[in-house]
Structures are given as C-alpha cells and as structure tokens.
Symmetry: C2
Subunit: 332 residues, 2 copies
C-alpha cells in the first residue's frame, strides 16, 4: 500500500507510491548524446563581447577580463521597472499593473559550463550577485515578493543555453507565498517555534533523509518530497529573508551547492532541474516564524491531470532511498 | 506593460505578458506527422478482447458487442481500496495509509479515437460512467475527495494511447482543495453569493471570454487564465458536487465537450491537454458557496522555475483573444 505524507510547511499531501516505486538508480538518465556546446557563441547575448545585446546592465562583478557575473534586465520582461502600482477592482475582475523587476543573472563567462562544474569561488560570486540585487529590489516600495529561480535544461524551461538565473520581483504577494506564510504563523502560534527550525532539528535527529551538511547549511530530501530527488537546502541560522545571508554563509552555501549540484550531475547524469530561493514577502522584516530556504526540483517526473486536479503529487521514490543514493553519489 | 490578474476563485495571480503576447494562431501546433494508430492493438489492455488484462472491473456500460465503457482498477494504483485509514503523527512527520480508489475509465472500444471525435452520445455514456463511479466512491466513508482527470497526449502525462480517464479518491482533503473551499466560504460570508455563480454571471455580461454555451453549461476562458486556452466549463445550475449532475445535464455537457474538444482538435491541431472535474470535498453536502466545474488545460506552455518559486503563471496570450479564436474555430 502507498503512504500519504504531509508536508508540514505547505500542508500539501504527497502520495509515496511504494508499489510503483523505482530504485533511485533506475531514474538515472542516459548520458546526453548531444554534441558538446562551444565555450563561446558569437550569437549568444550573454557571451563576453556581446554585452551590447543585453544593454540594461543592473550590476556587474568585475575582474581583469571585464566581468565575472553580470545582471541585466530580461529582454522580454514579464514585469516592468517603470510605472506605478495601479490596482483595478471591478467586482470579481481584479488586476494590477505589471510593475516590478525581471532580471537575468549571467553566472559565468563560459557559454557551455554547467553550474555543477563551477568552482566554489565562482558559485560564491553568483550568490553574492543574487544578494546584491535582492537588497536593491527590496528597497523599492512597489515590490512585495522576490523570487530567485533557475531553469536548467530544456524540460525545466530553459530557452538560452548560457548559464543564468532569473530574479523576479512582483507587486503583489503570490497566493502560494501567502498561504505558506499563514501556515508558518499558525505553527508558531501553536508551538512557539519556527516550523523550518523544527523540521531541520527533526531531520538532523532522524538522519535518514540528510544528503549533505556544512556548518551553516543542511541539504536533505523532504519527508514529503514531491518528486524524485526533490531537495531542500536550509540555512542552520534562523533568518527570514535571503538578503540576510552573511558573507561566511555565502561561502558555505557555495560549497553546499557545489556538492549538491555535483551529486545531481555525476550521480544522475546532469538531469534538468529548477531551483528557487524562498523568502518571506519583501515588506516583512525578520520574523520568528519564517525561514528562507532553497528548493531544488530535478525534472525527472512529469506532472499530469492528477496534480492539476488535486494539487497533490505522486512520488514514485522513497525519500529515504533518494537521500541514501545522493549521500553516496560522487560530488566532484 | 504586462498586467497581473487575480483569479478570484483561487486567489492566485497570473501575469498576462502582453509584451511577449502571441496571437492565438501562432500557438497552433504543426499537424502531427506520426503514423496513425491502429483501431485495435492486440497488446493494449484496454482493447476489446483483452479484458482479462485489466480484470478488476468495477463497472461496465454494456451493449450488444459487450461494452461501450468499462471502469477498472488502475493496474498500478496510487491508492488501495483495501485497508483502514491509519494516521500517524510524529511531530512534524505526518502520514496516512494510502487507502482510496484509483480507477481507469476506458472510454471507447476504439484504440485510436480522440475524445474530440466521439459522438455526443458516446461522450454522454462516458460522463454517465463518471457519475456512477463518483456516487459509489463517495459512499465510502474513508473517501474525502474525488478527482476525475484526463491526460491526453504525451506531454500531458499519458502512458497508454487507448482513450481513458482516471478517477482517484483520496483519504484526505488535498491542501489545494481545502484552500479553494476556504476562499469560497470567505466570498460567501462577504457577499452572500457563490463565487462561481457570480463569476459566471459577470462573464455572461462581459461576453468577451465566452467560447460556447448551451442551456446548462457555459465554456469560457477565465479572466485570469493560467496559460493559453486554459478553459472552464461551468454548470449554470448551482450544484456543489459532480455527482449531482442530472440526466439532462449529462446530455448537455456531452454536447458542450464535443464542441470544446472539437475546437481544440480542429482549431489547434489536437494539442495535448489535461482536464479535471473539481467538486466540493466528498464528505460535504450541497452547499451554497461551492459549485463544481470542469477545467481544461491545453499543454501549450511549459512551467518552469518561476511557477515553482511563486505559484504564479505567466500567460503569453490575452484571454479575450484566446476566447475569440476558439469561438470561431471549427468544432466538428
């Protein structure tokens, strides 16, 4: 019989389908047979020398060659940085002008490099750029939520090969984020504790779903993982918003990402994945009940009508087995 | 500038990306070049003559040839019909035994037929089978929610070509369904009206997003459609649960589905899609604040990190233009 597990942070239930469960090694995809990319592509707007193709530069981390990381406005922004928040309410029809930010972090000069192959220092530079833009965007009073997200690989929604991450700042709090905040407050009201801190403590006690840990971060497969190898990276120190990350934590998170992305790359043959950094809404300050974290979702399973109709996922792997597989997978 | 629109039923915001907006006809996919399927496949567990390959038959609508529609237990059920609901709570780790139902409605004897090409009578027979199984599942006190869903085409999650729909009955109320119920109650508390009835009335007044209507059903593109051609079919008569559908409504919904699926098939070259029937949780009765409906989501856009990180969608079509396109598309 399958088992339903509830994600205490989101209140979502997941079906862990033991009958259909696959061993983690059955989910390793065949090695890509596509031709390797060139290190430089003269048509790529993110390659060095083509800076004019993505001209609205918001930030750069410079070096002798010119830059290590650049942040530019998305060429087709879903949200515009000019304009006022204008809310229109006509009964059940409710809208808001699409102001905010939609930027691209160009992570590396190399066109062909997977983030799993960056050095720890290079990853730290990328994370420092995330923090810098997060701090700036948050100063804008029109911004209610900031979402950092990466699409790696075609099935994860990438349209450009050159390695990049996106940052979107929205003029409203998305319903999903508000629901999770409400649940975190409710947990705090009932227990006096942060649900994220409690979850982390219990995972460290249980040990069976831990993938890797450093002084400041723990990577683990959630008890109610949505899909195979769905993975969370929690900061050990309670902090509500990503922009509160300290320098020593950036170094430590870079080392953790190097390990985790390396384990996916080597252990699962570079699967497509998304990651996202989840924080408290931008207008909230430091709160006892909310804790930022990073979620990684390899695109190994496909969502279908059941997920649309119920919001629930069916996971055909045991989280404990996924964790065990990744713990022993090669990281470097 | 883009526009954010809020779905008043789910409270989710959608970005209508006007700058990147495509005309509906740009989203018509090329005609499939794959070889047509055979009308009969000797290896298909759902084809006539192979009934022994899906032996746990729960229901059949018989005819002279044997059957028109069969309902069988899924061969790899995500939920098991035997066993008790056993809830385990160990602090933040909460689980429930995976009891419930997971069935397959084999819609037609023909292996190769798309539901868009069924006759209205054939569609009515399929809907009658849905209702029958819904009524039976709801009698089981372990069942908290019943989700009817279809995966049409590979990118929508189909693994078997023979046309079929699935029905899952879960032993818990999924968080998504509970959130929507809570929102509907809140709307009712504020206005004294059903949010679905109000939305339908306002859409009929506005007229700009209506795709088709019959005496008992209205098909329209939601004001805050998640994705291109995302479509809702609402019953005109207020009723909280799908199993309350009357015979005359089954005939009418069959005619509506024939029209809507036909418009997708002919107008968009048979895109992959999911549909789902959403009802009030199974243990609730008829309520003033909740109204069942059917949602159709063509798999034209891909979800990526932004949707994972925010729960919001970016729709690159204007709902009004999608509706206008489908209104004039050929249905038959």
């Amino acid at each position: 019989m399958s088992e339903l597990r509830q994600n205490i942070i989101t209140r979502e239930w997941v079906i862990i389908a033991k009958e259909r469960a696959k061993r983690p090694d059955e989910l390793v995809r065949p090695k890509k047979q596509t031709a390797p990319l060139a290190a430089y592509d003269s048509h790529c707007p993110f390659c060095p020398g083509n800076e004019g193709m993505s001209a609205d530069e918001k930030y750069r981390i410079a070096d002798r060659e010119g830059w290590k990381v650049r942040v530019v406005t998305n060429k087709f922004p879903a949200l515009s940085q000019e304009g006022d928040r204008i809310r229109r309410i006509d009964g059940v029809f409710r809208s808001m002008s699409g102001v905010g930010f939609h930027e691209v972090v160009i992570e590396h000069r190399r066109h062909d490099l997977s983030p799993a192959l960056y050095s720890v220092e290079e990853l730290a530079t990328v994370l420092a750029a995330f923090r810098q833009r997060y701090i700036q965007m948050r100063k804008d009073p029109r911004v209610e939520a900031i979402i950092i997200f990466k699409n790696h690989g075609e099935s994860a929604g990438t349209s450009l090969q050159h390695p990049h991450t996106q940052i979107a700042a929205t003029p409203i709090v998305p319903a999903q984020i508000r629901h999770r905040l409400d649940e975190a407050i409710r947990f705090f009201d009932e227990t006096g504790e942060c649900v994220f801190c409690t979850t982390l403590r219990r995972e460290l006690e249980a040990r069976v779903r831990i993938v890797a840990s450093t002084d400041s971060f723990v990577a683990f497969i959630p008890y109610a993982a949505l899909s195979p190898f769905h993975l969370w990276i929690f900061p050990v120190r309670h902090c509500s918003s990503f922009d509160g990350i300290e320098d020593f934590e950036i170094t430590d998170l870079a080392a953790m990402l190097h390990t985790v992305l390396g384990k996916l790359y080597h252990g699962l043959n570079d699967p497509d994945y998304n990651f996202s950094i989840r924080s408290i809404p931008a207008r909230e300050g430091q709160r006892e009940y909310f804790h930022w974290y990073l979620t990684v979702i390899p695109r190994i399973a496909r969502t279908a009508g059941f997920e649309i109709g119920s919001g629930m996922y069916i996971n055909t792997t045991l989280p404990e087995e996924s964790a065990s597989f990744l713990r022993t997978a090669r990281a470097d």
